[in-house]
């Protein structure tokens, strides 16, 4: 498949046009996406799809009145219509007294590991082959295991951003998602397990690992059941900790939530909010991770930011708007949920590091009674305003006297994230054992006395 996005739209031409209509500042964000997706359901491929979308996001200011519009571009006249409408809406909006300006300087940081040319050049037949190889691995793993499905989606995305103060920045990135599901059946019992691999490059070995893991855990899930309601030690696998941090903690470190008094971390800069064993760094410059990039969604160069150092809150994350509100520089964390959205601060790659790292197997060995939690649903229901964490375990292990003795599902873990990660940490896993959920990368962690709601 040859995917060569090329946009023949002049960003500064659009900016000039919108300024002629009365805008005092203008920002143009072009996003050109080409995507190939091959999906097998059970043991055969059902769908081969190729999509192409070209979209434009526009932010205009008339003085301190600001509006955002987004449009997919089907015809060039779509752009003209959007410009007029944007200026009209901006004029009708009340002044935002906190508005200072769009970013003054757009730039790229020195980052590699954003674009994988192999992913661009791969043929449709090769993608089909990768998916079918993994389906075959599930079919031959164990006679109780059957594939639920597997899919591989390759996207090539071109981002172009320019504004009325600065030159245009541009990058092409690849984004690849592999998803797999396995099912096990025996004596009327069933177990299912899903894994997803996100990356900026093709990594066939990672897909195989995910496939084999889903088969193994589907088998384990055959005999999983809830345990009694209790308080016990809990070991969260990296993926689970990452997912919880993404929902319960990451929103609390964004400057907009802090400024709008929606973050429990407001006023806590330079104070101890987590255990001194924990350090959290947002690092968009580390190659090949999910959120690796040279500039953020308003064209500001990205950089590595230490958010929490040995448990002490060192910095919030800012986009230009929230930064200028405090008279400081953006941390390069602007994120646009959609083309028409106002940018807001969000993490790129949040990396969790521990002190005195302990191997996962040693954590288990040192547990008298506890749960290893390897997969949850509903973690995104955790509440970043109060810090409450709730997640339902769909795959876990019961540990007694340092040994895994049973499989667990269907219990809820609930606690407050600051409570769990401050006083109650028993051990933190090795960096090499880090797993990820989207753009959060975390090692396993052992926490004492977590409430488990069960039978």
């Amino acid at each position: 498949m040859e995917i060569k996005p090329k946009i023949d739209i002049d960003v500064h031409d659009i900016i000039k046009k919108v300024q002629a209509l009365g805008a005092t500042e203008a920002e143009v964000y072009l996003c050109n996406i080409k995507r190939l997706s091959i999906e097998a359901i059970k043991d055969k491929i059902e769908e081969a799809a190729y999509t192409h979308t070209l979209g434009l996001g526009l932010r205009v200011a008339v003085g301190k009145r600001v509006a955002c519009l987004g449009t997919s571009i089907s015809r060039l006249k779509d752009i003209e219509n959007v410009l007029k409408r944007a200026v009209k809406i901006a004029r009708a909006s009340p002044e935002d007294k906190s508005w200072v300006s769009l970013p003054r300087k757009l730039d790229k940081s020195d980052v590699y590991g954003v674009y994988d040319s192999k992913a661009e050049k791969i043929s449709v037949n090769r993608v089909i082959g990768i998916v079918m190889d993994n389906i075959d691995k599930l079919k031959t793993f164990d006679k109780r295991v059957t594939p639920v499905g597997a899919s591989l989606t390759i996207s090539i995305i071109e981002h172009t951003i320019g504004n009325s103060h600065s030159e245009t920045v541009r990058r092409i990135e690849t984004s690849i998602t592999y998803a797999v599901g396995a099912k096990a059946q025996e004596d009327g019992k069933e177990g299912v397990y899903h894994e997803t691999v996100y990356s900026k490059r093709l990594d066939i070995r990672e897909y195989e690992k995910a496939t084999l893991k889903s088969a193994k855990r589907a088998l384990e899930n055959l005999n999983a059941k809830p345990i009694e309601t209790c308080k016990t030690d809990v070991i969260l696998e990296g993926k689970v900790l990452a997912a919880i941090l993404s929902s319960a903690l990451a929103p609390a470190i964004t400057a907009d939530n802090v400024q709008q008094k929606r973050s429990p971390l407001r006023g806590k800069l330079n104070s101890q909010i987590l255990s001194e064993q924990l350090t959290l760094i947002d690092d968009p410059t580390r190659p090949w991770l999910y959120g690796t990039k040279e500039f953020d969604d308003e064209g500001v160069a990205t950089r590595r930011n230490t958010i929490i150092s040995n448990g002490v809150l060192r910095s919030y994350i800012y986009d230009t708007y929230t930064a200028l509100k405090e008279g400081r520089d953006s941390t390069g964390n602007a994120y646009r949920p959609s083309l028409s959205s106002m940018p807001k601060p969000w993490i790129h790659n949040l990396l969790v590091q521990g002190k005195n790292e302990v191997k996962l197997e040693d954590m288990i060995r040192d547990t008298k009674h506890g749960l290893v939690i390897s997969s949850t649903i509903g973690y995104w229901l955790s509440n970043p305003v109060s810090g409450y964490v709730n997640a339902t375990v769909v795959h876990g292990y019961l540990v007694k006297e340092g040994e895994i003795v049973d499989y667990v599902k269907g219990v809820i873990i609930s606690d407050n994230i600051y409570n769990m990660l401050k006083e109650k940490i028993e051990a933190i896993g090795k960096s090499e054992e880090r797993e990820y959920y989207l753009n959060v990368y975390a090692p396993p962690i052992k926490i004492k006395e977590v409430t488990i709601a069960g039978k």
């Binding site: 359901i41 059970k42 055969k44 491929i45 059902e46 081969a48 799809a49 190729y50 999509t51 192409h52 979308t53 979209g55 509006a67 519009l69 987004g70 449009t71 997919s72 015809r75 009209k88 809406i89 009708a92 909006s93 009340p94 935002d96 037949n125 089909i128 639920v148 499905g149 099912k183 069933e190 177990g191 299912v192 999983a224 709008q260 008094k261 929606r262 429990p264 959609s338 083309l339 028409s340 959205s341 106002m342 649903i377 509903g378 995104w380 229901l381 305003v385 109060s386 409450y388 709730n390 339902t392 769909v394 599902k409 269907g410 809820i412 609930s414 409430t451 709601a453 069960g454 039978k455």
Partner: protein
């Protein structure tokens, strides 16, 4: 649109056995006022088309938003190339035969929300936001407006031609209370398949005041001890529970993939006999989402999924109907033109029973009355049958009386058990839809509706703190 017919002809000439084309133009307006300041005024317009072809029974799909003929022609060629690449490796994509329909439908509305001056909408939100912040200890408030216009044309080589226009509007309130160092938030919204008249005719002050009052109750409340409880679920929670815990497992594609605990259970008892569950495309008064036809041109009527506790059918698309040997139920839905239809719920709800809320409460010695304001949603693992969801501010029930508020409640259970534990169904049916969000599955998000009456469940796991 002549272009769509031209695409059909061109595809057939290139060797497709079947082709359908979906054109869509969607406008979404979102206005957000945050703590007295207009935070976002955005309009998104998305338009383009998707082409699905079958070649020797294999399916290829492409989408593009560049509508020049040269580009569209390339897209068709690519779809055919993809379908051919699946030969000998893929599964044949057979579609259940249906009658080709030609129709044009518009959801009813009086005032086009996109004709209203931006200033008027902003002022309404600023006023409501101010009201929300007026209560002491309300630390932060977000008030949002959403309006959707969705224009779709479906054309197939079988002769179908359906045009569908949908208009939806709504207002959202988030109130965050801070008390004694603790914070809690309550989210509420109302949406309707209607034009701006819905915004004009609704008493938004009441919704906003209630959200702020509840947030104040919630922040002072404690969390209930974890364990197993008898609960009475308010209608909005019933909808959420049903959609997550049962609805997804009844989607035929999940059944076909072997990932639903309901597979093979048609004709079996899966719920208490008090329970009848339906999925209906268009519900009265615009309270649910508008879905007279699905994205494969199949009419969506009222599908009975569970009748008096017995599983009757699964939701299907044309392909899944063929795979499962069931009738097509009109549930093949795509997020937009750039996605292929998969099986989705439309308006999924429990039919009302005959009990009053007081009667449901009467027999409960100790339990929880669970409401949805502040609920964040839920998730299910359809394969293991485990579901979980976070509900809103709730109240303890003691000896049939509603007592103190509790917060931070999440419910969890097993699909096959929970509906069997229902031992009381109210008569007060409420169905809701939401212009601000929808249900995600397989990377696609669609608007849905759900609901039910008050329902009592004998046993459900409650995670407190």
């Amino acid at each position: 649109m002549e272009l769509l017919e031209k695409i059909v002809d061109y595809s057939l000439n290139l060797g497709a056995d079947y082709v359908d084309v979906r054109f869509e133009e969607k406008h979404y307006e979102k206005i957000t006022v945050d703590n007295g300041v207009l935070k976002e005024y955005s309009i998104t317009k998305a338009s383009g088309l998707g082409v699905r072809v079958l070649v020797d029974g294999f399916m290829g799909f492409t989408s593009t938003n560049n509508l020049s003929w040269g580009n569209v022609r390339n897209a068709i060629q690519k779809a055919i190339e993809l379908a051919k690449a699946l030969k000998n490796k893929g599964r044949r994509f057979e579609l259940y035969p249906v009658k080709a329909v030609r129709d044009k439908r518009k959801s009813p509305y009086k005032i086009n929300p996109f004709d209203i001056e931006p200033g008027e909408k902003v002022k309404l939100l600023l006023d409501l936001n101010k009201l929300a912040l007026a209560k002491e200890d309300i630390r932060s408030a977000i008030t949002g407006y959403g309006a959707l216009y969705d224009h779709k044309i479906y054309v197939s080589s079988e002769g179908a031609h359906i045009e569908l226009d949908t208009v939806m509007t709504g207002i959202l309130q988030v109130s965050i209370a801070c008390w004694s160092g603790k914070m809690e938030r309550v989210v509420d919204s109302k949406s309707r398949i209607a034009g701006y008249e819905f915004i004009k005719e609704t008493e938004w002050d009441d919704m906003v005041n209630e959200a702020s009052s509840l947030a104040l109750e919630a922040v002072k409340a404690s969390t209930p001890p974890p364990g197993t409880y008898t609960v009475i679920l308010a209608p909005e929670v019933v909808g959420l529970l049903l959609h997550e815990a049962f609805g997804h497992a009844s989607e035929g594609d999940i059944v076909d993939a072997g990932a639903s605990v309901l597979a093979g259970k048609i004709g079996e008892k899966v719920a208490s006999e008090l329970v009848t569950v339906v999925d209906e495309g268009v519900v009265e008064g615009g309270k649910g989402y508008y879905h007279p036809y699905d994205d494969e041109g199949v009419p969506k009527g009222k599908t009975v999924i569970v009748e008096n506790g017995v599983l009757k059918t699964f939701l299907t698309s044309r392909y899944i109907a063929r795979r499962l040997d069931l009738e097509p139920t009109g549930n093949g839905r795509a997020q937009d033109y750039a996605h292929t239809p998969i099986v989705r719920q439309t308006n999924y709800y429990i039919m009302p029973g005959d009990m009053k809320l007081e009667e449901l409460l009467e027999d409960v010695k100790y339990g929880l009355y669970v409401t949805g304001k502040g609920a964040m949603g839920g998730e299910v693992n359809t394969g293991t049958g485990t579901f979980t969801f976070s509900v809103g501010v709730s109240r303890v029930i003691r000896n049939g009386e509603l007592c103190e508020y509790v917060r931070g409640v999440s419910l969890s259970g097993s699909i096959l058990e929970t509906l069997k534990y229902i031992d009381g169904v109210g008569k007060d049916l409420v169905i809701r839809t939401n212009v601000f969000g929808g249900c995600g599955k397989g990377g696609q998000r669609v608007h849905v509706g759900h609901g039910g009456p008050h329902v009592r469940v004998k046993k459900i796991v409650v995670g407190g703190r």
